[in-house]
């Protein structure tokens, strides 16, 4: 096995580091995307046995968005194993307690029935804000594109586009503006 072959295999199975910004993203859509990168399904050399998954750094998990009133409708069940240990936590309460937990559970459940699930989860790094330790940030060499665009708040839109944005309705002459 010449050095060229050894090094070629080292590069083919190298683990790249991706970063994913969860602001205004549905956790379950992004979980499906993150899962493919964690398990290495996005690589043409994927095989369940050759463990070619990548690392993914999730930032702004506090800013995830759920449709409609799912914050109060989605419930997370947990049982301590002792009698009377069942507990039902609403999504927003769980998110308040630990902003990364909703995203973590979403990715965990998206790898349903995969035996290396707990091992693959080691390659997931969750951060509630966008402050990431520097040595992790240096590893990152690729950013995963989000499925949904980030909406812009009215007061955050810059003055210039506000000024010359076309109007499609004008007040009648005699209208008093309140």
């Amino acid at each position: 096995m010449s050095i060229a072959k050894r090094v070629q295999q080292w590069a083919t199975f190298a683990r790249t580091w991706h970063i994913y910004d969860c602001t205004w993203q549905n956790p379950f859509e992004s979980a499906a995307l993150v899962k493919t990168h964690l398990m290495g399904l996005h690589k043409p050399i994927y095989h369940p046995m050759n463990d070619c998954g990548d690392h993914v750094v999730l930032i702004n998990t506090k800013e995830i968005a759920l449709p409609g009133d799912e914050w109060i409708k989605r419930v997370y069940f947990h049982h301590t194993g002792y009698p009377g240990g069942a507990s039902w936590t609403l999504a927003w309460q769980l998110h308040e307690k630990d902003p990364t937990m909703v995203m973590k559970k979403a990715v965990y459940n998206s790898m349903h029935g995969n035996l290396q699930r707990r091992h693959t989860m080691q390659r997931l790094h969750l951060f509630s804000g966008d402050s990431v330790p520097d040595e992790i940030l240096q590893n990152v060499t690729n950013q995963i594109r989000t499925p949904r665009t980030v909406p812009q708040r009215l007061d955050h839109i810059d003055k210039e586009t506000l000024e010359n944005f076309p109007t499609i309705m004008d007040y009648p002459k005699d209208y008093i503006l309140r």
Partner: protein, 155 residues
């Protein structure tokens, strides 16, 4: 014969339209008193102010019956805040249909879109004075981001 009939109905409708625009209540006309001084004659005159929107008006918007979706074919989402903010008063209330000039279906749709945007916290500055300007300060589950699917609007 058919074209003659069509011309007759259109003229009838346009005349009817003018009369409808006469407001029943007395309009509180907003005028601006301007003072002009010409060689020792000073005249005061009340002039209607020109609303600043008019010069940015789309030509197609000046027709009488205008709906963003029917005439321009715009598929408006609740995140298109710049469009929605034109149909909303400064305190966040939706303008009535006689002012917006939309058809019934569009008016109701625009209403739901505006409520969606406000619930999602995308228009905090167009709200009642007592409202929280920063959606993150809202109480309980309301402070977290949420979005809406336009497919849930049923009409």
């Amino acid at each position: 014969m058919a074209s003659l009939l069509k011309v007759a109905t259109s003229t009838l409708r346009s005349t009817l339209w003018q009369t409808r625009s006469v407001a029943t209540t007395t309009p509180q006309l907003i005028k601006e008193i301007q003072e002009k001084q010409e060689n020792n004659v000073r005249t005061y005159e009340g002039v209607n102010i020109e609303s600043e929107r008019s010069e940015k008006l789309l030509k197609s918007a000046c027709q009488t019956t205008f709906c963003p979706e029917c005439t321009l074919g715009l598929d408006i989402k609740h995140t298109d805040v710049l469009i929605l903010s034109q149909y909303v008063r400064s305190d966040g209330c939706m303008l009535p249909r006689r002012i917006t000039g939309l058809c019934y279906r569009q008016q109701k749709k625009m209403g739901t879109l505006v409520t969606m945007a406000q619930k999602a916290g995308l228009m905090p500055n167009l709200g009642p004075s007592w409202s929280k300007k920063d959606p993150k300060q809202r109480y309980g589950w309301k402070k977290f981001n949420k979005y809406f699917l336009e497919s849930t609007i049923k009409y």
